[in-house]
């Protein structure tokens, strides 16, 4: 009681109006020692925010808050005054992508679906939570937060005062807390308990098998949004309905939606994926970027999102050894060169962004890299805003933090100059009104010119001491002096000897005054690295203290006599203006689409093209017509005939060449970030189209083999796989523009060994046999039928929207079509039977290597067949595969295609088609149709592509020879009237690639020479997504999905 009274009196007497008593629940062991931490910082340059700087201003803080800031401020009596002359005060930075103080569960490698290991089909999380271990909206960072002083210091030292911290684990990561970086009790650090909800594409520590792919993550997010809506809208009393009960995860999910939503997407394509998920559910994510967004700024602008940008620019590699450098791709070289432009690119695009330090290997790189970003065009204003106001505004806390204004939290740091200058140091970082030294006592700037008097037994000697920094000084006197100076701002040490000792060996210590004549008497010694006074001969050693304008202390002279000394401040050193030198942005190479080998500096455009006098394989009733012209206009085939002419057309001489429709690959796995969602046996909710990867070089390589359209299928890991995506090989386009617009939607099914996981030592995922596969199908469609009925029923609005079943309902309603991976006759018949039972047709059986055994049944069912030419013997179920399978099925009357399922073979699909001429005696026209019009038919796009007919898409290939010949090369590949592959241009590009590689490699060598730390040359490995059929490898730098650890 007495204590409280005393405190109260203290406040009253202090003369500042306080409305509340400072209280806390924590008992004090001893006598209370409450302090207001009232300070006045005077004579400072105060950068209130990125736009406003006050000169000679005063800042008053008290009890952790800013009380006043301005030029005409009365200094309260209780304030400790700190003179900030020559100092600049900035609002402390805010990082909203941190996991400071939050334990992160270890990421589990290789927990993605594997063909070999057992599955974990349910969540390991105990409690009334949702079904998926990676969806953790119920996690609150504030619950987990523990001060981590070491980490806090490292962040404070680079200027941060507060961070949004969250547990970076899982797909939905729960809420993040805004905390200060003080060393106080956690209770006092939390500025906002739930400041944002955070998400990512990474499963993190989840060991559950689903989702095992990027598209699975997206599907799971999408479904969870729907589930949460459904859960919320259940009528009262339905909460405990059979099935769901109380779901704390969904509850938390719904509650979190009111918060700012941050998505850690970490890559340009990931950013777009995240943004699109948000768009579907009316949420604008704040996107944590990856650093390669500069490649696709138009797409970034279109997201309308706010971004969080990292500074972890790629490190230069040691490319000295050409055999090591060989495996570093131009894409990686270019990214090294161009990544520092990322922030400037956002500024130029007028996109609002924050800056995070979270991805840096070492927080010390923060300033190096930020300054680098500024060298590449990021403005000071924008940088400061991105570190202060922008993050605070995004979290709706700008009224509390993010600038130096009265009423805000006293988070600011003090520098000895413009913080963006590379000479400037942060001296102190004040967090919630408490001081944290960055440079220990760095604030005590001793620099200046002093008059030093040493009282030696022989009398006083006077010197001029010019202190440049806390460890650099010049000493000038009668003697020639070799000085070593060091201070921590308070304690001082100084030693010096005669410089002459270094030149004249025989001069005795007492002769030092003579030696002085030979020298100008000025020597600057740079701190510890050179000032080895002792080795240069006897030294005078002084030790003392800095009392502000005066230093004084004791010491010993060269002869060992005890001395005292005094150094008096005379005047300040004239330090040049401390502004950031505007360097010219370093020269960099050109951005290409994609930004890698064979990318276009400018996207090719549709042209009017007249191909003259070619042998034209029409795939129409005209068959192969010789000496024919084809006119392409506006992306379409405009005319076919003899002696055509067209104004302004690019004329291509087709004499001696063959012109065909572009090749259509019915079964491909290129241009994606993931291909198999094997976490469950039914994954009809996942969509290949959600995770296209336009950077895949195989798009270009396949154009060089005449491919223009590819059906990108889900893998064969499960009975009901994911939704497929038809693409056109528009090399350089973004992910959306790759899509074949307006095509019917398809889905991949699979049967047999892969779906029963034959290669797994211990399979625990149903099914384990073809018997089980049939039941998975029957069960799925039964559920879908019941679901559809319920949706249409009286309580339809309460039915949970199920994306998995939606896709199956579409199939039953003939709105979505199946491509079914299959081998054995038995499973083919079984699947057709199930389809007939549910009233739909299996559109396509792919692989279908025993199709020849049941060709009549396939025909009766109405299925198409898409097969390999000559694959066999790579697993048990293909022991009866024969190279005449296509021929038999064709002769029985099926529509048959030859597909690749392989990024290399896709470049030679024309040759694969020709194998039916060899093995089955098929006519050349019919054989070539198997890679053009036939797959177009089975994909329901034969009205658009697959033949040369007026009005169809101008997807054409000009071949050097009969297209079925192994000697034929595609000379030009045209998609939508645009020449995407041109053999001549390709030859030029090869030269450019070599030149560009060499240019950047030389630059990297220079970087190494300049002393920058470099990492070993890292081969640019790629993960190739395969359907799991492959026994051959795809080259030294390609790892198949099984080698990858998920994401």
């Amino acid at each position: 009681m007495r204590k409280l009274k005393t405190l109260w009196l203290f406040f009253v007497c202090s003369g500042i109006s306080f409305t509340a008593l400072s209280q806390e629940t924590n008992p004090v062991n001893g006598v209370a020692d409450y302090r207001t931490h009232s300070y006045a910082f005077t004579n400072a340059s105060i950068v209130k925010d990125a736009q406003t700087t006050l000169q000679n201003a005063t800042l008053i803080i008290k009890e952790g808050k800013i009380v006043a800031v301005g030029n005409q401020i009365n200094i309260p009596a209780d304030a400790i005054v700190i003179d900030c002359k020559g100092k600049t005060i900035y609002p402390s930075f805010i990082d909203i992508n941190s996991d400071y103080g939050i334990p992160t569960p270890e990421r589990q490698p290789r927990t993605a679906f594997s063909f070999f290991g057992p599955s974990q089909l349910t969540s390991n999380t105990k409690g009334a939570y949702g079904w998926n271990q990676a969806i953790k909206p119920e996690v609150n960072a504030a619950d987990l937060f523990v001060v981590d002083e070491a980490k806090a210091k490292s962040l404070r030292d680079i200027g941060f005062g507060a961070v949004l911290t969250s547990q970076k684990d899982g797909i939905a990561r729960g809420t993040g807390a805004l905390v200060s970086l003080s060393n106080n009790k956690e209770n006092l650090d939390i500025i906002k308990e739930k400041a944002a909800a955070t998400y990512s594409f990474s499963k993190g520590s989840s060991t559950q098998s689903y989702p095992s792919s990027v598209m699975g993550v997206i599907a799971l997010l999408r479904q969870t949004f729907l589930d949460a809506q459904w859960y919320k809208n259940l009528p009262p009393g339905q909460n405990g309905q059979p099935g769901e009960g109380t779901n704390l995860s969904l509850e938390a999910w719904n509650n979190n939606l009111a918060l700012p939503q941050i998505f850690e997407a970490n890559d340009k394509w990931g950013d777009l994926r995240a943004d699109r998920i948000g768009d579907e559910f009316g949420i604008q994510f704040i996107i944590k970027a990856g650093g390669n967004e500069y490649e696709r700024m138009a797409d970034m602008i279109a997201t309308k999102a706010n971004f969080i940008l990292p500074l972890n620019f790629p490190q230069a590699m040691d490319v000295e050894d050409p055999n090591d450098a060989r495996f570093v791709s131009l894409a990686d070289l270019k990214n090294w060169e161009m990544a520092p432009t990322n922030l400037a690119a956002f500024e130029k695009a007028k996109i609002n962004f924050c800056i995070t330090s979270s991805d840096l290997r070492d927080s010390k790189e923060f300033w190096t890299n930020l300054r680098k970003a500024m060298d590449y065009g990021l403005s000071e204003t924008k940088a400061l805003e991105a570190l202060t106001k922008a993050p605070a505004t995004l979290l709706n806390v700008y009224n509390q933090i993010g600038s130096i204004e009265a009423g805000k939290i006293a988070n600011f740091f003090i520098t000895d100059g413009n913080v963006f200058s590379d000479k400037t140091r942060i001296l102190q970082n004040w967090v919630q009104g408490e001081k944290y030294d960055v440079k220990e006592n760095g604030f005590m700037n001793t620099s200046g010119i002093y008059s030093l008097v040493i009282n030696e037994p022989v009398g006083a000697k006077t010197y001029t001491l010019e202190i440049k920094s806390n460890n650099t000084a010049t000493l000038t006197g009668k003697d020639t002096l070799n000085a070593k100076f060091r201070t921590d701002g308070k304690l001082v040490s100084l030693s010096f000897s005669s410089l002459e000792k270094m030149h004249r060996k025989n001069v005795s210590p007492t002769d030092s005054s003579q030696a002085a004549k030979d020298d100008k008497g000025r020597v600057a010694m740079q701190g510890a690295n050179r000032g080895r006074g002792a080795s240069d001969g006897p030294a005078t050693r002084l030790s003392g203290i800095n009392n502000g304008n005066l230093m004084q202390g004791t010491g010993e002279d060269m002869a060992g006599n005890q001395v005292t000394w005094v150094a008096t401040f005379v005047k300040a050193i004239d330090v040049g203006t401390d502004s950031v030198k505007k360097k010219n942005a370093p020269a960099i190479g050109k951005l290409t689409y994609p930004n890698e080998a064979y990318g276009f500096e400018e996207m090719p455009k549709p042209e009017t093209i007249l191909i003259k006098n070619a042998t034209v394989w029409t795939n129409e009733k005209e068959g192969i017509v010789a000496n024919t012209d084809v006119l392409v206009k506006d992306g379409k085939i405009a005319a076919i005939g003899k002696n055509l002419s067209a104004q302004g057309a690019r004329v291509i001489d087709g004499t001696g060449k063959n012109l065909t429709p572009g090749i259509v690959d019915e079964h491909s796995h290129i241009a994606t970030s993931s291909i198999n969602e094997g976490g469950q046996s039914v994954t009809s909710e996942v969509r290949i189209g959600d995770n296209l990867n336009p950077d895949d070089i195989n798009i270009y390589r396949q154009l060089s083999g005449g491919v223009t359209t590819s059906h990108i299928l889900h893998g064969s890991a499960n009975t009901i796989g994911g939704q497929t995506q038809l693409i056109k090989l528009r090399w350089g386009a973004d992910d959306n523009d790759l899509k074949f617009k307006g095509a019917d939607p398809f889905i991949k099914f699979a049967l047999g060994e892969n779906v029963k996981r034959t290669t797994s030592i211990i399979n625990n995922r149903f099914p384990n046999t073809r018997m089980g596969v049939e039941q998975v199908q029957v069960d799925a469609f039964t559920r879908a039928r019941d679901y559809e009925k319920a949706l249409k029923g009286p309580n339809g609005k309460f039915v949970r929207r199920d994306l998995e079943l939606d896709a199956l309902v579409e199939i039953m309603n003939h709105k979505r079509f199946i491509t079914c991976h299959s081998y054995k006759a038995s499973e083919i018949l079984e699947t057709m039977k199930v389809a007939e039972q549910f009233g739909f047709t299996l559109n396509t059986f792919t692989h279908v290597l025993e199709g020849y055994k049941v060709a009549d049944k396939l025909k009766a069912h109405g299925a198409n067949a898409s097969t390999f030419s000559d694959w066999w013997a790579y697993k048990m179920e293909v022991q009866d595969a024969i190279p005449t399978n296509a021929t038999i099925m064709h002769n029985v009357g099926l529509n048959v295609a030859i597909n690749s399922d392989d990024a290399e073979m896709a470049r030679r699909l024309n040759q694969e088609a020709a194998k039916s001429v060899k093995y089955g005696g098929m006519s050349e026209i019919e054989a070539f149709k198997m890679v053009t019009i036939n797959p177009a038919k089975m994909l329901h796009v034969d009205n658009r592509i697959g033949s040369i007919k007026v009005g169809k898409d101008a997807d054409l290939v000009l071949w050097s020879d009969n297209p079925l010949s192994i000697y034929a090369k595609a000379e030009k590949t045209i998609v939508d009237g645009t020449i995407y592959y041109d053999m001549e241009r390709d030859m030029q590009m090869r030269q450019q690639i070599k030149k560009e590689r060499n240019r950047i490699i030389q630059k990297m060598l220079d970087e190494k020479k300049s002393g920058a730390s470099v990492m070993g040359a890292m081969p640019s490995f790629k993960v190739m997504n395969v359907c799991e059929e492959h026994v051959h490898n795809h080259g030294l730098l390609v790892l198949d999905t099984e080698d990858n650890d998920g994401q």
Partner: protein, 434 residues
């Protein structure tokens, strides 16, 4: 003469309706064979128009234009308008050791445990009844070098001919070389380092392993050079004796330049005949390979370029780089989905990208024979060599025309039927197709 021709045709026809297990090696035949008037691709680069070949006792006795049909017991095969080639040779394969891929473990006999297995012989496990063999024969591939796989030294390979009742029958050249699989010297980012400790350095580990192999050879060389036979026999040392007297060669499986430089080092240090198998990056050092007398068995032209930055057709034109530098090289086809049956099309691709057709053919016939140590009796159509000959309707390198209608192994007229053709016939019959 006509009588014999008729007999022979009847036998062939009979085979088309029986099961694959009844496709038998050719019957003993003591008469002459006469391949009349074909376009003969010798295998050494030469092409002989309208040329006939006379075969006696399994050997080529005469080659020439306007050769008369010999008298006596003779089978005559009219090759007018057809292309005649040496039997193709698959220079590196596990055929006969691996029937069904994808972990049908019971069908696998190609990968033994252990790092130093020079004493392991592929030939003793070779299954002459593999169903795959006939599908290769019918494409004109008549010989294979059957190679064991493994880590480091995997064992010895042997050349087999594809007309045999059992492996003893099949041996064409036993133990022609020892196979060393060089550990990868490619650095790997941590996220792709599996199977080792997370802090492992694949490069360092690779170099260490290579040292153990060198050390093994150094000791083996000393062991074999000793004039007095050691009291304790070392089977591993004995197994590599042929490397030091050059009756066998060291096949080093490797791909990147640094690995190939080490392969050269092996050749220099131990004075061995070395062949690089794989060699996808060899185009960068073709002249060095020639200067050091290193031959190459290049695998799978039908593969993707190593780097995104590479010429998109780099693998296709790598053979031309070797040819231009004068390196002795063969092409092979190890594609696991097609089990080597596209050997000639890999050569065709090489021909489309810089080789002449005859050079491409040589890479799968005479060059392969030279590297495998059978050039004295196979690999080309030359007098005195075994009559290992195939006849194709057209250019064998191009799928449009590559249809093999006749094949002889050591003069034996072999059955070109296979499981696939039988199933084709069976189901054509089912659907009433022609």
């Amino acid at each position: 003469m006509r009588k014999y021709l008729i007999i022979f045709l009847t036998i062939t026809a009979a085979h088309t309706v029986v099961g694959q297990d009844n496709i038998s090696p050719a019957k003993l035949y003591t008469g002459l064979t006469f391949i009349k008037n074909g376009t003969v691709h010798v295998g050494n680069g030469e092409v002989l128009q309208n040329t006939s070949i006379e075969i006696r006792n399994g050997k080529i006795e005469k080659i020439g234009q306007d050769l008369p049909i010999p008298s006596g017991e003779v089978r005559v095969y009219d090759a007018t308008g057809k292309q005649v080639y040496p039997g193709l040779i698959l220079a590196n394969t596990n055929i006969g050791l691996r029937e069904i891929a994808n972990q049908v473990k019971g069908s696998d006999d190609y990968n033994e445990l252990g790092d130093l297995n020079p004493n392991v012989q592929s030939i003793v496990a070779y299954n002459a009844d593999s169903k795959i063999i006939n599908t290769l024969r019918s494409n004109g591939i008549l010989f294979a070098n059957v190679v064991p796989q493994g880590s480091l030294i995997a064992g010895s390979s042997s050349v087999v001919q594809f007309d045999a009742w059992n492996w003893e029958d099949a041996v064409y050249k036993e133990d022609n070389g020892i196979h060393f699989y060089m550990p990868s010297l490619l650095a790997r980012p941590r996220r792709f380092r599996f199977g080792g400790a997370s802090n492992s350095d694949p490069l360092k580990e690779g170099l260490e392993k290579i040292e153990t192999v060198k050390s093994f050879f150094a000791q083996a060389k000393a062991y074999n050079a000793a004039t007095v036979k050691p009291t304790t026999t070392n089977l591993k040392f004995e197994a590599v004796k042929g490397l030091f007297n050059k009756t066998e060669r060291l096949f080093i499986h490797c791909d990147i330049v640094k690995e190939m430089l080490i392969a050269i080092d092996f050749a220099k240090q131990f004075d061995m005949d070395v062949t690089i198998v794989g060699g996808s990056e060899c185009w960068q050092m073709a002249d060095l390979l020639r200067q050091n007398n290193i031959s190459v068995i290049l695998q799978e032209q039908h593969s993707l370029p190593t780097s995104d930055d590479d010429d998109v057709d780099q693998p296709y034109k790598t053979p031309a780089a070797l040819q231009n530098a004068g390196v002795l090289f063969a092409l092979t086809d190890e594609n696991g989905e097609t089990t080597g049956r596209n050997l000639m099309f890999n050569a065709g691709t090489a021909a489309a990208y810089g080789l002449t057709k005859e050079q491409a053919l040589q890479a799968i016939t005479l060059n392969a024979a030279k590297i495998l140590g059978i050039a004295d009796k196979s690999g080309s159509i030359e007098v005195g060599k075994d009559a290992n000959i195939i006849v194709s309707e057209g250019d064998i390198l191009d799928m449009r025309t590559s249809i093999v209608t006749k094949a002889f192994i050591q003069g034996r007229d072999i059955d070109l039927n296979d499981k696939h053709k039988e199933l084709f016939e069976k189901y054509k019959a089912r659907y009433g197709l022609k």
